[in-house]
Each structure stands twice: as structure tokens, then as C-alpha cells.
Amino acid sequence: MAAAFHFELCDLPRDEARALRSKVRNFLNDVSAGWTIADRARSWTAFDRDFSRQVGRHGWIGMTWPANYGGHERSALERYVVLEEMLAAGAPVAAHWIADRQSGPLILRVGTDEQKREFLPRIARGELAFCIGLSEPDSGSDLASLRSKATRISGGWRLDGAKIWTTNAHQSDFMIGLFRTAPASETARHIGLSQFLIDLKSSGIEIRPIADLTGESHFNEVRFDAVFVPDSMMVGREGDGWAQVNAELAFERSGPDRYLSAYPLVPPMLDAIGKTGFEAQAARDVGRLVARLATLRAMSISVAGMLQAGATPLQEAALIKDLGVDLEQDTPRLVEDLVGLPPAFDDPGGLAAATAYVTQVAPTFSLRGGTREIMRGLTARGLGLR
């Protein structure tokens, strides 16, 4: 059990990180002039293809990929610097985020050379937006119960079924979807799942945005009715989909997006409290918040170091997600307590509006990438509880 989880501190490469950070900050300073607090609070749900192309031009997408696929051959730790600067600034990264974080790396790891040549350079230029098709109407966290199926037909596969809670499907170019290519067995429900690269312009696909409680739409339901996918668009090996998806999760659960979702509220909150005349207790609450932020950052960078070294730190990632989500969900209450919030407001870009937005989306923070209960169950198994 002593090996249930282990974090070694990891140093970002100092000189490279400094130079890079300063470039990213300058860029963000230049482009962020018009961003309101509420804009920044949307950050990685804000879809802006122009912005993503600019980021691509700077070489900040696909940073770790080989140059022959349009990548920039930088280290995962340098990439980390870019990610955290983007999130801290609340940049509108949604049009490239998923492709850069999950789809591209997946293609690079298990895709064919043809897939790599076709997709990776366009992703790296910020031109291709991806979404991930996992959940289905009857299976949320229980992915093994997926029923959407791929049937082998001449030259490829025929997809039927539906995916739900697919973030940004309505704005994306491609989906990487998990489909059943063989029946599940009672004893091994995870077998028989495969991943496909699906052009969302294919005929037979119907995408229905799902309005959420904020009045916006990020989620979608995507229905597949006899959608054809050529053989060449299977990702990885037939039947390996489950293992491939799980390998992605360590990336998803430990990144800076797992504790910085509410960060854009923090600087304006500090300014609203004021530089002088604040109460000792307000300072304490701020001190505790900062201690949690700084510790999560060190934990997240530690996992980035492990990923860079080729490890699969699922246990550590789950712990970060658990703590990070708590911090993010606590943040709106902290604003209320330390600054005070009016019940209604007329500035849709201000701190009150941004806090209202985060209050409404915060419930999803502990769902995405596996619910809190699932994460804690994973940790419990790691601890050897039986």
C-alpha cells in the first residue's frame, strides 16, 4: 500500500520555461484587452477559431509532437507552461483544446501514419476542432455499458447509435468516438470496443446542441444513423478502445485545467477585496486559497513529469482531480464571502456575472473525466481496500 501513490517534485526546465512563459504572457497581454471577467471565466469552453489559429501560428499546439507531423518537439513540461498560462488568463481555447490534449496525442500514439499525416499538422495549426464521443444516453460513468455499435461493411464500418454530453460537437470538425465492434461478454464487459475518427460532416450524423442551465450550449447529443467510416479511420487496434481511452484519462485528470477552471475569478476578487484595509480573516481565507492553488500546481507538475517520463500515474491524477475540483467549486462561495455579491447585476462581463456563471457550471467540474465518487473509488482500490 505504501506505493499506492507517490509524487516526486518536478522542476520545469528553468531557462526554457522562462523564455516561453514570457512569450505566452506577452501574446496574451496583447490579445486580451477586450476580455471581460466573464469571458475569462468561460476559458476552455469558449470556442474561437481565430484565437486557436493564432495559438497554432505561435507553435503552441502539438508542442511535443514530431516536426514531421507539424509538431514542435518541445517537452511536455514546456507544453505545461503554455497550458497553464492560457488557463490562468482565461483564454478562449476550446477550438483546439481537446484536439491538443487528447485527440492528437491519441492519434500520435496509436494512429496510422496516414492518420498522423492527415490530422496532426492541421490540429497543430489550430485548424481542426475535435470532440470525444464516449458517454451514451444510458451510460454515464459506466463506459463498459456502451451500446452504440460499429458494424463491419464493405470498405469500412457502419456506425449506429447515439453519444451524449459530447462537448463542442456542434462546433467541431471531427469526433473520436468509442463504438462497440464486438458484443460484450458477461465477464469482460470492456472488450469489443474500438475507436473511430469520424468526420462530423458525414451523412447520417445529426448533432443536437443541448441547452444548459446557463442558457448556452456546450454539450450535444450526436446521433448516428448508418454513418459510413472507412477502414482507414479506425484509431488503434480493433477491440482495444477501452484500454486506449483509459490511457488518455491520466492526461485529462491531472492537467492544469483540473484546478484552474475557476481561477479567472481570483484576481478580480483580490482586487475587489483591496490592497489595504482588508480584515485579517479575509487575508487568512486568501492565504488558504493560495496554499491550495500552489500545492495543486506542484502536484500537477509532478504528474506532468511522470507523464513525460512515460509513466501512467492514474492514482496520482485521481487525487489531483479530487482536490482540484473541490477548490474550483469552493471559489464562487469565497467570492461571495469576501467581496459580497449583489443578487442581480447589470454588467454581464463583471465579477458578479462571472461568479454566477461559474456557480452554474461548477457542478460539472466534479463530473467531467469521471465523477467524484468514481475517482474516490479508484483511489480506494489503489489503497488496497477490498
Partner: protein
């Protein structure tokens, strides 16, 4: 069956018929639910709190609390509580009650000069659906209850997480339709009534949220069984139940104190503050649990949950935010000193 129970049951049936997702959605787009309101008017609920001698139903404050709990239970998008309480205030002061929708507000920040009222009332609930506004304003030695015609006021529409109408109301030398002398404590007493109103609505909405979560947990299958079978979900829902219970008791106790201190507004401040603070806390924790249990469906417009949670988040902040009330109550307790707390907790007469 007594009158209060009868009215409550009628109201429940009315809400069951009228207040569905479409009604709430329409109200949030700014469409006034005219049919619902006129049905409520037909029941005579506007004057439920007005003494029988003055043509009302003569209900007590505690009975009003039970009705308000029902408006919360359905998130009914009408200012019934606002109107009932405004009418009650007018009747007590001997001012004739005008037709239509009434609202009230904390008037402590208003200036009265030669009978004309000047000032800004922030985020008044339902102001632009209402015909009249009731406030208590004026110096301590000449505080008056004032009935204002909202046609003579500016209303600046605001946004809120709850999305029912809220407006900043600006009065520029407005002349009240009528005024009557009232005790100086009434200004804060009106704020207490608003806080208690929201406390009861929170209690009602929160029980509904719990029921939605339990239903969902019993229905939604994951890993081959309803999620309500998982102990982690059960433990969370039990915590939610405790918050519901606390909110129900705290709000009811607040109105009870209001009834006991009929002698004057502003005398049940301790219990009002307790109700306000505890219900707001319950709303915060309760919403978090309900959303966690519901998963993604709960944040979509396909499910009713958010029509309740968004209002719970809003109601916590109105008529003095939870932080304001907590500060007021805490300051009172601290200024009195440690050995005065227990006598305060056990006082059986708020007057």
C-alpha cells in the same frame, strides 16, 4: 379543514396545473404568467394576510410561511409573497390596497424631503411586473409607510442567475400615493419579512430538489443498478435531507417569532436572521449535492432541476445576503457577550 390549509391545497393544485417547465421557461424569457396570476388573485390570496375586518383572510405570518413554502416548492414565477406581504403592511397601516401586483423593498437608504422620495432601490424583485411598491422611509422620528405608484419610478432591468425579473428602481422626488406613520423599526422589519419570505421559498424549493434527486437516484441505472443503491449516493442524499429539515424548521421558527411579536415590526430579528442564514447555508450545500447526484443531465435544460437550483442560488442573496445577515447576527451576539448567548437562544418571547 381550516382556511390556511384550504388555500394551501388550492394553491398546490393550481401550481400542479400551471407551473411546468414551459411556464418557467416563458417567465424567464420575460413573459408574464397572466393566467396563473389571475387564478391566484381569484383565490383571494393577495389579501390572505389582511385582517378579516379589512376584507382579507386574516391569516397569521406562520400560515403565510406555509404558503410561501409552496411557491418555492414549484418555483412559481409570480410575486405572490411580495404582494401578500405588501398588502398586509398597507392594511396594518390603514392604507387602501391597490389592485394588481405589489412589491416591497428595504427603504432605509431612501431620502424623504418635503414628502417626496428620492433614492435607488437595488434589485427589487418583480418591480416591472408590479403596479405599486411599498417601503418604509423617513427619519426615525417620522418613519412612514409609503405606497408608491411604479409608473412614476424608473426601473432598470437587471440580470440574475435566477432569471425572474429584477430591477433597480430609481425614485426621483416621487410622491407617494399614500403614507401612514409607522414605527421606526419597520424599515428593518420589512427587510426581515423579505428575508423570511425567501427563507420559506428556499425550504420549499429545497425539498423539491431533494425529491427530484431521490427520484433520479432510484431511476438512473449505472453499473447495473439504480445509483441510489450506491452507499456514496445514499450518504450524500442523507446530508441533503438534513439540510432540507434544517431549512424547514428554521424558516418556520422565523415566522413563529414574527407571530409572537405582533406588537411591532423589527422585533423578531434574531429568529429572522437565524432563518435567513440557515436556509441560505442549506441552499448552498443542498444544490451542490443535488447536482452531483444528477450528473450531467442536471445542468441541462432538459431537466427541471436547474429551475430550482438557480432560484435557490439567487434567493440566498436577496433581502440582505446571507453574509450580511450573519454579520448582523454575529455582531449582536458578540456585543452582548458570551453569557448572554444562552438566554438569547432560549428566549421564548421575541418582543
Amino acid at each position: 379543514m381550516d382556511l390556511a390549509a384550504l388555500l394551501g391545497d388550492q394553491l398546490e393544485r393550481l401550481f400542479l396545473d400551471h407551473v411546468d417547465r414551459n411556464c418557467l421557461h416563458a417567465a424567464e424569457s420575460g413573459i408574464w404568467p397572466a393566467a396563473l396570476w389571475s387564478a391566484v388573485e381569484d383565490f383571494g390570496l393577495r389579501t390572505a394576510l389582511v385582517p378579516e375586518a379589512a376584507g382579507g383572510s386574516g391569516l397569521g405570518w406562520s400560515e403565510a410561511g406555509a404558503i410561501l413554502q409552496r411557491t418555492g416548492r414549484f418555483a412559481a414565477p409570480i410575486p405572490l409573497g411580495e404582494t401578500m406581504i405588501a398588502a398586509a403592511l398597507l392594511a396594518r397601516a390603514g392604507i387602501a390596497i391597490p389592485e394588481g401586483v405589489l412589491v416591497f423593498a428595504d427603504g432605509r437608504a431612501l431620502k424623504v424631503d418635503d414628502g417626496l422620495i428620492e433614492g435607488r432601490l437595488p434589485a427589487v424583485a418583480w418591480a416591472h411586473a408590479a403596479s405599486h411598491l411599498v417601503v418604509a422611509a423617513g427619519p426615525d422620528d417620522d418613519t412612514r409607510l409609503c405606497l408608491l405608484d411604479l409608473r412614476h419610478a424608473e426601473a432598470h432591468p437587471l440580470r440574475s442567475i435566477g432569471r425572474d425579473a429584477r430591477d433597480d428602481v430609481v425614485l426621483r422626488g416621487a410622491k407617494p400615493v399614500a403614507t401612514a406613520p409607522i414605527e421606526a423599526a419597520a424599515a428593518v422589519g420589512i427587510l426581515e419579512l423579505g428575508a423570511l419570505m425567501r427563507a420559506s421559498q428556499i425550504a420549499g424549493a429545497l425539498r423539491r430538489v431533494m425529491e427530484l434527486a431521490v427520484d433520479y437516484a432510484n431511476t438512473r441505472q449505472q453499473f447495473g443498478r439504480p445509483i441510489g443503491r450506491f452507499q456514496a449516493i445514499q450518504q450524500s442524499l442523507a446530508q441533503l435531507a438534513a439540510e432540507v429539515a434544517a431549512a424547514e424548521v428554521a424558516s418556520a421558527a422565523g415566522w413563529r417569532a414574527r407571530d409572537k411579536s405582533e406588537a411591532g415590526l423589527g422585533k423578531a430579528g434574531f429568529e429572522a436572521a437565524v432563518a435567513r442564514i440557515r436556509c441560505s447555508e442549506a441552499a448552498r450545500l443542498g444544490c451542490a449535492i443535488a447536482h452531483q447526484v444528477h450528473g450531467a443531465i442536471g445542468v441541462t435544460d432538459e431537466h427541471m432541476l436547474h429551475y430550482f437550483t438557480r432560484r435557490l442560488w439567487l434567493w440566498r442573496l436577496e433581502f440582505g445576503a446571507e453574509t450580511w445577515w450573519a454579520e448582523e447576527l454575529g455582531a449582536t451576539v458578540l456585543e452582548a457577550g458570551g453569557d448572554k448567548l444562552w438566554p438569547l437562544l432560549t428566549r421564548d418571547d421575541p418582543a
